[in-house]
């Protein structure tokens, strides 16, 4: 009996306690920088698209919500012809970001993606592609990769030695 009255009183006093609720739209919560939110496609520092359309993200995605088509430009650079993420299916697991060899696909801190129409949750490449480099500012895939494209031959990448002459006998 006493314990019941004590419980009632304890709960009643909570009327005057500070509330733990964060009144969201007015008061923004702190979002950690590594938050897995809206997905973007980043560009190289020189403005070229980072994505090389390798399909690794689409394969890694556990819910199969990424769809893309690879193509190649006149310099020999691969890029996606279209790149589509269905955010009504995405679970924001971040596996695509882990799989990407070029730091192209990145998850950001934005989570305010509500839509009235479900179709609007399908983001096309124009919606995904940003003009900056995202989380990895200095990185440029073709500058470090051994792949030859027009204007950059084998052995010309950063930290890369000229190719070995496999037919020579010198050490």
């Amino acid at each position: 009996m006493i314990s019941i009255l004590k419980a009632l009183w304890t709960v009643f006093v909570h009327l005057f306690k500070r509330k733990v609720t964060v009144l969201y739209p007015e008061e923004k919560p702190y979002i950690p920088p590594r938050w897995r939110g809206r997905i973007i496609l980043a560009r190289d520092p020189d403005g070229g698209e980072r994505c090389v359309a390798c399909h690794l993200c689409a394969i890694a995605c556990p819910v199969d919500c990424i769809s893309l088509q690879a193509t190649e430009d006149e310099y020999g650079r691969r890029y996606p012809e279209f790149f589509r993420i269905n955010f009504s299916r995405c679970i924001f697991c971040g596996y695509c970001e882990e799989a990407c060899p070029t730091y192209a696909i990145q998850l950001t801190t934005d989570f305010e993606m509500s839509e009235y129409n479900r179709r609007n949750l399908v983001y096309e490449k124009e919606d995904l592609l940003i003009s900056g480099t995202g989380k990895y500012p200095g990185y440029n895939f073709y500058k470090v990769a051994g792949l030859s494209i027009k204007g950059k031959d084998k052995g010309e990448a950063e930290n890369e030695l000229p190719p070995v002459d496999v037919k020579g006998l010198m050490p």
Binding site: A7, L8, T10, V11, F12, H14, L15, K19, V20, T21
Partner: protein
């Protein structure tokens, strides 16, 4: 003609006020529960969220009115209406002020007891006709609980009847002019309050709808406005019990300075708030504990109250 008009006004006024209180309580309860749990509760729709019930009603009316194919259709449809009707009928005898009461029955208290017993039909039939085992268990629990708590709910207010010498609620209030019955009838008040909580099957006595064991108890199969009616019935029940506690033990409309109707509603809302506090604070007892407390503790207490009150009245003669 003028008389008729006045009565029509009172009848529809009471109906309107009761329905709006029942709707408003949705917001009051959610807000208070929130505050007591260190949250804010609904505070977005309208100022402080007072328009939340409106949004809820629109939503619930727009829902599909679904009757499960295995249910006993006519009974299933009838059940939610019964509880609302019986509770609304009980409001007929509540004296809001000396002048405002729908009916000044000389057996008002008995009428209230009769109506609240009829309310159990709603729960029992609703659970039975759902054709769902959880609903059935909920309905069985409700019946047993209502029957056992009904007994000493009636007995607990006999002390009040003895002191005031009347079953008429108006006269009971008049008899409290000198001293509210809470003082001589404290035991009766406690027993009546507990029985009232059990009667409206509110937490902590909400075993008929114990979510953790029975899905939602007797209204598991209900949705849309039929579910809404059960809810309205529950809130009307809380209001009714609070009003009766006010009338029987706290001097009804009596009070200094403020007009009678204001006093009446202040007291009523105090008890409504207490009902919600009970819900916020107390865990649900086991079913056997509930029934045991009823028969082994509450019934003897109610009887003791009658005997002592009777003895004191006789001795004072």
């Amino acid at each position: 003609m003028n008389e008729t008009l006045k009565y029509l006004l009172i009848v529809f006024g009471v109906l309107g006020v009761m329905m709006s209180i029942a709707a408003g309580l949705i917001w009051v309860e959610r807000r208070l529960l929130g505050l007591w749990q260190d949250r804010y509760g609904p505070n977005r729709v309208g100022p402080m969220g007072v328009l939340q019930p409106l949004a809820d009603v629109i939503k619930i009316l727009a829902k599909e009115d679904w009757v499960p194919p295995f249910a006993d259709k006519p009974v299933f449809m009838l059940a939610p209406a019964i509880i609302v009707i019986t509770v609304l009928l009980s409001f007929a005898v509540v004296p809001f002020t000396p002048g405002i009461a729908v009916a000044n029955l000389n057996i008002g208290l008995l009428y209230f007891l009769a109506m609240s017993s009829l309310g159990v039909y709603s729960v029992a039939l609703g659970g039975w006709s759902s054709g769902n085992k959880y609903a059935l268990i909920g309905a069985l629990r409700a019946s047993a609980q209502m029957i056992s708590y009904e007994v000493f709910m009636g007995l607990s207010i006999m002390g009040v009847v003895m002191l005031s010498g009347s079953f008429n609620l108006h006269e009971i209030v008049e008899a409290q002019k000198r001293l509210w019955f809470i003082v001589p009838q404290f035991l009766g008040f406690v027993v009546f309050f507990i029985a009232g909580v059990a009667e409206t099957h509110r937490l902590p006595f909400d075993l008929p709808e114990a979510e953790s064991e029975l899905v939602a108890g007797f209204h598991s199969e209900y949705s849309g406005m039929k579910f809404g009616l059960f809810f309205v019935g529950e809130y009307l029940g809380i209001t009714l019990i609070s009003m009766l506690i006010t009338t029987l033990f706290f001097g009804g409309w009596l009070g200094p300075v403020l007009p009678p109707v204001v006093w009446f509603f202040i007291k009523t809302f105090f008890f409504i708030g207490f009902f919600i506090l009970l819900r916020a604070a107390l865990p649900r007892p086991r079913y056997d504990q509930l029934i045991r407390t009823g028969w082994k503790l509450m019934l003897p207490l109610a009887l003791l109250n009658i005997v002592v009150t009777g003895g004191v009245i006789l001795a004072a003669r």
